[in-house]
């Protein structure tokens, strides 16, 4: 399973050339303001902007669609739950269940906003190397310990995925079949225990190796950030745009009808 979020970070684009510190900060503000939107036209505008940003980043389509497949699993059920559970007035009934347009409106709003936000966060972390993004986070005053934990966890995840696949293969080759019973739970418990013990011993070795090379809790990197006028300019555009969208959303210029579709 390809999890590397940064596997296409080498693609040259105006987004990947953007200083990561400004990129994370500005697009982060855009994400927060989208999360606060309350009207569908604004959410659609956000989706258009997100598509433009990801277009500018030139990330391959299959990379994005692969990532989106995860989020769709979470979001599609909303379309089936919300219209039938909304306490508003029911427009009509399907198989005895009341269907409220307001519920569908809500589901559409949530879906559009989530899609826009996910596209933007893929752009942020897909367009520069993961370690560079993390150092940028550290420069943005994110606690040092936290950044190091993120880096370690990210790296170890691949090691453990491999380990887990190996253990899975050996379990299946011995005839294990998962089923809804107590034995499966016990076996999974032992499986995770073994994974933990092995991982622990491995990290212990890695940690000692790091200590012997002079690790003192500091993250040193060859990466140097250069911010030019362009970086600041891009940042200002994005922040300005998010503020403008948020203000017009809250000013209610799209609220034509009190209980209408907007």
């Amino acid at each position: 399973m390809a999890l590397d979020i940064d596997r296409y970070s080498n693609i040259d684009s105006s987004i990947s050339r953007w200083d990561p510190r400004f990129k994370i900060f500005a697009l982060g503000i855009l994400i927060i303001s989208i999360a606060l939107f309350k009207t569908i036209p604004m959410a659609l505008a956000a989706l258009v902007i997100a598509t433009m940003i990801i277009g500018m980043s030139a990330l391959p389509l299959h990379f994005i669609s692969h990532g989106l497949s995860f989020i769709l699993i979470f979001l599609v059920p909303f379309f089936f739950i919300m219209p039938f559970s909304y306490p508003g007035e029911a427009a009509f009934h399907i198989m005895g269940l009341p269907f409220a347009w307001e519920g569908l409106r809500y589901a559409t709003l949530i879906f559009t906003k989530a899609l826009a936000i996910v596209l933007i966060s893929f752009t942020i972390f897909g367009s520069s190397r993961f370690d560079v993004s993390m150092i940028a986070l550290q420069k943005l005053k994110c606690p040092k310990i936290f950044v190091q934990m993120l880096l370690f966890t990210y790296r170890y995840t691949y090691v453990f995925l491999d380990e887990m696949h190996r253990m899975h293969t050996s379990m299946h080759s011995r005839g294990f079949v998962a089923g809804p019973n107590a034995q499966t739970l016990r076996i999974y418990g032992n499986f995770i225990g073994t994974l933990l013990v092995r991982s622990f011993e491995r990290t212990d070795r890695v940690y000692k190796a790091m200590l012997s090379k002079g690790y003192q809790g500091e993250l040193h990197s060859m990466v140097k950030f250069h911010s030019s006028f362009q970086d600041i300019f891009k940042g200002l555009i994005v922040v300005g745009l998010s503020m403008a969208l948020l203000l017009s959303d809250y000013a209610g210029i799209y609220k034509v009808a009190e209980r209408g579709w907007y």
Partner: protein, 214 residues
């Protein structure tokens, strides 16, 4: 088990972020250098094992294991869960960036309470004590998360009351599964490598061996 982006209202989101910041600061105090790799290991295992699916009938649920994180890391479970969720948001778009606060309170809070449950085992002594308390901790971890999730949804608006109820119901099978898995895992670890477990009272002779080399 995640709240998706765009569902919750701003006050709920802000409460989540503030609560998470306070808890993270409190639980990350006096964290040693050598703890960073240890906490990261558990975080990755937590992250990876959420890919294990247990079949129930025609469907399947994936493991959450926030209770197990509490059992192993103690108070450090909170930053671990936070890191795990940030990575999930970055890698999969699971959950999302603005809901990280609420999600961490939900899962990390469950982990902390699971640890409190797990610590109570020294007040008792019976056969398979580690299994029973591991199972209780596993069930509490997920159970608390389910309740916090339902409350977060219910306070967001009346529209979500039905969803909140459905969420609580859906947690019942997950609680049973987690109890079994975490119980078995805690029992296994207490036999094989007890020094991994959180809040472990070790006899003086056993502490010397494992940590002296570091």
């Amino acid at each position: 088990m995640h709240i998706s982006e765009g569902v919750l209202s701003a006050p709920v989101l802000i409460t989540g972020i503030v609560g998470t910041a306070v808890l993270a600061a409190a639980t990350m105090r006096k964290m040693d250098l050598e703890e960073i790799p240890k906490v990261s290991v558990i975080t990755s295992v937590f992250f990876v094992s959420s890919l294990i699916h247990v079949p129930i009938g025609v469907t399947s649920v994936h493991l959450i294991l926030n209770g197990l994180v509490g059992v192993i890391l103690g108070w450090r479970a909170f930053p671990a869960v936070l890191v795990g969720l940030v990575l999930q948001a970055i890698l999969f778009g699971h959950g999302g960036v603005t809901v990280i606060g609420v999600n961490s309170l939900m899962m990390g809070g469950g982990a902390l309470i699971a640890y409190i449950v797990w610590k109570q085992r020294y007040h008792f002594s019976f056969k398979r004590r580690e299994f029973i308390f591991g199972a209780l901790a596993g069930a509490t971890g997920v159970g608390i998360s389910g309740i916090v999730l339902a409350v977060a949804l219910a306070t967001t608006g009346e529209a979500f009351h039905a969803v909140a109820g459905a969420v609580l119901l859906a947690h019942i099978p997950i609680i049973i599964i987690e109890a079994g898995v975490v119980g078995a895992c805690a029992e296994f670890l207490s036999r094989v490598k007890p020094e991994i477990l959180g809040g472990q009272r070790l006899a003086p002779s056993t502490t010397a061996g494992s940590d002296a080399a570091v």
